[in-house]
């Protein structure tokens, strides 16, 4: 029974048919199949490179489609080499690559053309004709001018140019500050020494003032204590003695009994306390100013301290 080749069999044997590596009977079966199958005839022609080809637009479209889905836009790479392409400095292989792209990309072709035209025109700008009379103006401007201006002249010119710069005022302020610091020293250092200098100035004066205050206060306190002691002694003695019919003592006894003496005594005690407080205040002030420990507070019977020095 004669074997009949179908389309699937033909697909499977296509490579062997193209390579002429199939048996004679397979050839015959394939030819018999091709005679009645236009699909497999077209497949064989296409695989053998004899099929229909894309026109230029189709090729360009296919290339663009493939590039979009694979490597991306090639114009960036082409632009990197366009200057060399326009200058003719690319190696042959690179030049062919760029030429192939440019022949298919209108945008890069226009850019390459503009590059080439610019490169041709730009050197002509190397010399331009200045408006007349330029040479005579330059000659007249330099004929009476010293070839080398003096140092002062150059300094003046430099200052003139510098003065119109926006930063000039800031720079001048900075330089002046530096000069002031150089001439008058570091102002921060002066402020740092102010405290010690003020202390040295004030210390002897404070000591003198405290001495002047403390001595009269101590004297007043001693006097007050003496007077109070004597008065209290007299009143106590008078109160314990027999009452006299008249005179100072009966009156004093009446004062004692009515509490007048007690109030007087408390007043004197208060006065003595004020004196003590004033004395302690003076000592404390002196201690604060001079950094010394204040003397311990003393009782009413203790002797007054010497004046603070």
């Amino acid at each position: 029974m004669k074997a009949v080749m179908n389309c699937q069999d033909f697909d499977r044997r296509l490579d062997a048919l193209l390579d002429a590596a199939c048996a004679e009977n397979e050839w015959r079966e394939a030819e018999a199949h091709l005679a009645g199958c236009p699909r497999c005839r077209a497949l064989l022609e296409g695989a053998a490179g004899r099929g229909p080809v894309l026109d230029e637009a189709g090729q360009a479209s296919l290339t663009a489609s493939v590039m979009r889905k694979t490597g991306g836009d090639p114009c960036g790479s082409a632009r990197d080499r366009l200057c060399g392409f326009a200058d003719g400095t690319l190696e042959a292989f690179e030049r062919d690559l760029v030429a192939g792209h440019v022949s298919n990309c209108g945008r890069c072709a226009a850019l390459a053309d503009a590059l080439a035209r610019s490169a041709a025109v730009l050197p002509s700008f190397a010399t331009l004709t200045p408006p007349e009379p330029f040479v005579s103006d330059v000659l007249s401007a330099t004929s009476f001018r010293p070839a080398e201006p003096s140092v002062l002249g150059r300094l003046g010119e430099w200052l003139g140019r510098a003065a119109i710069r926006p930063r000039f005022s800031l720079e001048v302020a900075y330089v002046c500050t530096l000069l002031l610091a150089i001439v008058f020293g570091n102002p921060v250092k002066a402020f740092k020494e102010t405290a010690s200098r003020a202390e040295a100035y004030a210390q002897p004066r404070v000591e003198v003032a405290v001495g002047r205050i403390a001595a009269p206060l101590a004297a007043a306190r001693a006097t007050g204590e003496t007077v109070v002691g004597k008065t209290v002694g007299r009143l106590s003695a008078a109160a314990s003695a027999a009452p006299a019919p008249s005179g100072f003592l009966p009156m004093a006894r009446r004062w004692w009994e009515t509490g007048v003496v007690e109030r007087l005594r408390s007043m004197l005690d208060a006065a003595a306390g004020w004196v003590r407080s004033a004395e302690e205040l003076a000592n404390d002030l002196a201690a604060r100013l001079l950094g010394k420990q204040p003397p311990a507070a003393r009782g009413p019977g203790e002797p007054p301290p010497a004046a603070v020095r």
Binding site: R79, D80, L82, C83, A110, L111, A114, L115, R117, S118, A119, A120, V121, L122, P123, S124, F125, A126, T127, L128, T129, P130, P131, F134, V135, D137, V138, L139, A141, T142, S143, R145, P146, A147, E148, P149, R161, I164, R165, P166
Partner: protein
């Protein structure tokens, strides 16, 4: 005329040599000042200032082999000083007069002369519309023809930076040329 001899004679105070020097370099200096200012009168005054400065400092001129790059650097520095002063003290009126710069055509036939003139004007306007960095690169590399090494020394940047800046500037210029040819406008950035 031998440049080394001309420079020597100028240094010695030969007025005739100085005049020849001015005639020889006026176009180049004026081109540089025009590129920076874009205003013919301003460029002319600035070019004159460049020559006066050169005259005053002719004892310190460099040797002939490196004179042209040095001259370009001096001119560029004066232009930048001028632009800084101008920025600090804005003018009362600002006249855009790019088209007034004398761009004499060099074509052979009337048609080619017209085309060349049109190209020159478009390219000149495109150059003027570039930003400062790109404009400097175009001026130094494409117009004045300095090498990458000379530009790198002048600007104080690595050679690789100069190359990449130069490529970018050329592409930017080409794009602006195309935009101008399409009838678009490109405003000056600097």
């Amino acid at each position: 005329m031998d440049l080394a001899t001309l420079l020597d004679r100028c240094r010695q105070g030969d007025d005739l040599a100085w005049e020849a020097f001015v005639r020889q370099f006026q176009g180049r200096v004026y081109s540089i000042t025009s590129t920076y200012t874009g205003h013919p009168e301003e460029a002319r005054d600035l070019a004159q200032d460049v020559f006066i400065r050169l005259y005053e400092t002719k004892g310190r001129w460099v040797e002939a082999e490196v004179f042209v790059p040095w001259l370009i650097r001096v001119s560029r520095n004066l232009c930048l000083d001028h632009l800084r002063r101008k920025k600090a003290r804005p003018p009362a009126e600002d006249v855009l007069a790019d088209e007034m710069v004398d761009l004499a055509a060099t074509g052979a036939t009337p048609e080619s002369e017209l085309a060349a003139s049109r190209d020159r004007h478009v390219v000149w306007r495109a150059v003027r519309s570039l930003g400062r960095l790109s404009r400097e690169m175009i001026l130094l590399k494409e117009i004045q023809g300095l090498t990458f090494q000379e530009i790198a020394a002048s600007l104080g940047v690595p050679v690789g930076t100069v190359k990449s800046r130069s490529n970018r500037a050329r592409l930017e210029l080409a794009e602006r040329v195309l935009a101008l040819e399409r009838g678009g406008t490109v405003g000056p950035e600097a």
